[in-house]
């Protein structure tokens, strides 16, 4: 597939690039960011997929998260796609900031008018990896996934639904139980319809309850002063109790004073990349 380089900046000894391509899943032009560490010049590197949250594009992460130095140190390629299809001219896509544009929720929509384009799940788990593996010096067996908020939800469900595909998973302030929170309920009813059983396939808490596969090691950081935590949008306790019961290893850290912003992400990005590197470089 044809990739067009949109930008390239030398960063942390490597290159922070942005590409554009025609997505077959999403049926539109999509941009994604790629960070190539110095090691990529001489050898194959593992790939860390980052899924951003509501309202984000491929830019927020690469400019605010401070991931490049750690990625360069550990020799990891970071791929950060956009959060939804763009320019599809679907009615209602720009009405609210938490549904439609910039709010793909990493599902494959089954409802009209979303089902044609809003297939972020397949895009992230199928199309994008294939694209990346054919265009960049990657080790296709070494992938990991992470994200923030809606992206955290996306990372968790991708890992839980694809046992063994991702060598590591982590999340920042993820939406752990979308079926039980306003955000999730709004998005799922829009993308997946009213049948709640269809929602279960995209709910990390539910998926954890029935997970069977290689052992996971999930790292979750959550700002204690996160307004959305107190607004019951994130519901990490639900995920934790299910994981405790099902013996899915999780280390959940409640970080005092931190909010939901990229300042919070920036503060703990190093820990997460180290966590991923442990498994990607093993």
């Amino acid at each position: 597939m044809a990739l067009t380089q949109v930008s390239s900046n030398k960063c942390a000894g490597g290159f922070q690039k942005v590409f554009e391509h025609d997505s077959t899943e999403l049926k539109c032009k999509m941009k994604f960011a790629v960070f190539l560490p110095p090691k990529a010049e001489t050898g194959k590197c593992p790939v860390f997929y980052w899924l951003s949250g509501l309202t984000c594009t491929e830019q927020n992460f690469i400019t605010k998260a401070g991931s490049q130095l750690a990625a360069a140190e550990h020799g990891i390629i970071i791929v950060a796609p956009d959060t939804s299809p763009r320019g599809c001219s679907i009615e209602g896509e720009d009405e609210t900031w938490d549904f439609g544009t910039g709010a793909g929720f990493y599902v494959d929509a089954t409802q009209d008018p979303w089902k044609t384009n809003y297939r972020m799940y397949s895009y992230v788990t199928e199309e994008l990896p294939k694209l990346i593996n054919s265009n960049f010096p990657t080790d296709p067996d070494r992938m990991s996934i992470s994200g923030h908020s809606m992206g955290g939800h996306g990372a968790l469900i991708c890992a839980l639904k694809n046992p063994g595909k991702y060598k590591a998973v982590s999340a920042f302030a993820p939406i752990c139980n979308p079926m039980q929170c306003p955000w999730g309920q709004k998005a799922f009813s829009g993308y997946l319809g009213p049948d709640r059983s269809a929602w279960e396939a995209y709910d990390a808490t539910v998926l954890a309850g029935s997970y069977s596969g290689p052992q996971l090691d999930i790292l979750i950081d959550q700002g204690r002063d996160d307004q959305f935590l107190s607004a019951s949008q994130l519901l990490p306790d639900n995920l934790i109790s299910v994981c405790s019961e099902k013996k899915i290893p999780v280390v959940f850290r409640l970080q005092p004073g931190y909010d939901h912003s990229y300042f919070f992400i920036y503060s703990f990005m190093n820990d997460h990349i180290k966590h991923h590197a442990k498994y990607l470089n093993a």
Partner: protein
């Protein structure tokens, strides 16, 4: 091998030796092997065994004839071979003995010559002395006589002169009288005759001393030759020896219970035997001599002696006298010797190790102080047998030593105590593996409610409540937190150990400074860091405590085997679920000094420490 070859090869060797000596040997244990000479007249080897005759070996000629049928019975190949070898060995032994003996004889011969030479010299000198003295005496006597003669002659001469004078005087007088008698002048005659008559009368009255002034005899006093006599006598007497010279202690000549003492003669004395005296030098010598240490003595013929049955690490005073038929020499100077110390005892439970070093502690093994210690180490061979000492660390002043080692090896380490007498025997060795970090738990820091398994790696907090009075608190024990410290980790770099717990044990594991408050809880102060597990009916809670503060964490899978990774250089202390290889938490702390691992049980239960494990890769960032 053919029988021929046996004979051709080995027996030739024996025959060579046989030519050199012709000494009777003891009977060998070999069976009679009597070889029948072939009618051709060639000679075979002949062994006369079980007799006292000398074994004579006639050299085998060119080739050995093949054995006859008769011999087949006698010779069994194997027997033959086997029996020759002990005989040959015996012979070789005898040769060596003879050579030794010859050597000894030579030595003795030389010594006798030497001694004889000395005796000769001695004698010559002695007689020379005597002769000298005699001639001296002669001279003295002769001069004495001369003088006597001289004085006698002088006095006689004097007398003679006097007589002559007297004669002359009488002559003169008589002549005067005659003159006067002949004088015509009667008047003058009458004037002078009376005094003359008087003078003549007086002169006639005078007694003439006709005795000789001196006797004609010479006095011959008895010659005092007593000293010559003594000298003559003493020729037959060997003088008593002079004091020997005792040598200072040679290095490495002493053992724990014995001393090897050497001395030498000052001059060419003849000595029959020596007596070596020794007594221990006590630290506190009492004032009164009644309690003085007992003197012992040994009689020896050589100029050296090994004194045994002594105390280790003790100083002894030694002196020696030499004795011959004449008497005993004065004592030599007193020399101070010291026995070597007893070997130290390594305190197994107080030794710890890590990949790059080991800390060894031991007990001196001696009641009195020693000068220093030597630590010896050797790497165990691949077969596990002890190889030679590869390294020695000398002049260790105290009873502990931190030794640099290489990672992933196994060593035997032993210690010797050293004093001026030399080094002691090696202590029992301790085996150190430089795999992982290894330490024992410090029993004397344990809270009284903690008990320890025999191997020292599991601690128990019993169910029964001990009354406060039954608890024996020492200075070093924890008094509130039911805790115990591990031995100090005194080496920089990374260290790793694991702690095994069960589902419900409430514990604290981590590290603490040596001076962490014993009346405080682990993690509640600034001198300790720990992971804490709290069990509630519904779930597990975890805290990572330092200074009373912990981050807020949830862990979904309860770790029953906790990996603890300490990195002094980076200033980190990390905890892992070892079974899952899952990282739990990392403290970032700048350690001001070395730390001890610490462990506590907050409710009845048990906890086992596993160490000496190489840090898994996932613990190394």
């Amino acid at each position: 091998m053919e029988l021929d070859d046996i004979r051709g090869g080995r027996l030739d060797v024996i025959s060579e030796e046989g030519e050199h000596q012709d000494i009777s040997r003891e009977s060998s244990t070999m069976e009679a092997c009597y070889v029948v000479p072939e009618p051709g007249g060639r000679t075979f080897q002949r062994f006369s065994v079980n007799t006292n005759e000398s074994l004579r070996f006639e050299p085998c000629e060119d080739s050995c004839p093949s054995p006859t049928a008769a011999e087949d019975d006698v010779f069994e190949k194997g027997e033959f071979e086997g029996e020759i070898i002990p005989v040959r060995n015996q012979l070789q032994g005898k040769v060596a003995e003879m050579e030794n003996f010859a050597g000894h004889l030579e030595e003795i011969f030389l010594t006798v010559e030497e001694n004889f030479g000395r005796q000769e010299q001695h004698l010559e000198q002695h007689y020379n002395d005597v002769l000298q003295t005699l001639s001296q005496r002669y001279d003295e006597r002769a001069t004495g006589l001369q003088e006597e003669k001289k004085s006698k002659l002088e006095s006689l001469y004097g007398q003679l002169l006097v007589c002559g004078q007297a004669l002359d005087a009488s002559k003169v007088l008589i002549e005067t009288a005659q003159e006067i008698y002949r004088c015509q002048d009667k008047r003058l005659f009458l004037k002078t005759v009376m005094p003359i008559i008087k003078r003549v009368e007086e002169f006639a009255k005078e007694d003439i001393d006709l005795t000789l002034a001196t006797s004609l005899e010479f006095s011959t006093p008895l010659a005092d030759l007593t000293d010559v006599k003594t000298m003559m006598d003493s020729i037959n007497i060997v003088p008593a020896p002079s004091a020997p010279v005792i040598n200072p202690q040679l290095p490495n000549s002493a053992t724990q219970t014995s001393l090897h003492v050497c001395w030498s003669l000052f001059s060419d004395d003849t000595v029959e035997y020596y007596e070596l005296y020794y007594r221990p030098v006590l630290e506190d010598t009492p004032a009164d001599s009644t309690c003085a240490p007992q003197e012992s003595k040994v009689k020896v013929k050589e100029t050296h002696c090994t004194v045994t049955d002594l105390l280790p690490n003790a100083q002894y005073e030694l002196w020696v006298t030499a004795t011959n038929t004449t008497g005993i020499s004065p004592a030599s100077e007193k020399a101070l010797y010291m026995t070597v110390p007893s070997p130290p005892v390594i305190k197994q439970r107080e030794c710890s190790s890590c990949p790059e070093a080991a800390l060894i502690r031991w007990e001196s093994g001696n009641t009195n102080p020693v000068d220093s210690y030597t630590v010896e180490l050797s790497e165990t061979g691949t077969v596990g047998t002890e190889s030679n000492i590869t390294e020695s660390i000398v002049a260790v002043p105290t009873c502990q030593c931190l030794i640099q080692l290489q990672a992933g090896r196994q060593y035997f380490i032993s210690v010797r105590a050293v004093n001026i007498g030399g080094p002691s025997e090696r202590s029992d060795a301790i085996t150190i593996s430089t795999t992982g970090t290894f330490f024992y738990l410090l029993e004397d820091t344990a809270h009284p409610c903690l008990s320890m398994s025999e191997d020292g790696f599991t601690i128990f907090y019993g169910d029964e409540e001990l009354p406060i009075t039954a608890m024996a608190f020492e200075d070093n024990t924890f008094t509130r937190c039911v805790a115990i410290l591990g031995d100090l980790i005194p080496v920089r770099g990374r260290h790793y150990w694991e702690v095994e717990v069960d589902e419900d044990t409430e514990f604290r594991v981590g590290v603490a400074y040596e001076d962490t408050e014993r009346d405080s809880y682990l993690g509640a102060n600034s001198s300790s860091w720990c992971m804490r597990h709290i069990r509630t009916p519904s779930r597990h809670k975890y805290e990572f405590l330092h200074n009373g503060w912990s981050p807020d964490l949830r862990i979904t899978v309860h770790p029953v085997r906790i990996g603890v990774a300490l990195d002094y250089d980076r200033g980190t202390l990390s905890f892992f679920n070892a079974h899952l290889e899952q990282h739990l938490h990392t403290f970032r702390c700048h350690f001001q000094s070395y730390v001890h691992p610490c462990f506590s049980l907050d409710n009845p239960g048990a906890l086992t420490v596993h160490n000496g494990i190489a840090a898994p890769d996932y613990t190394v960032t």
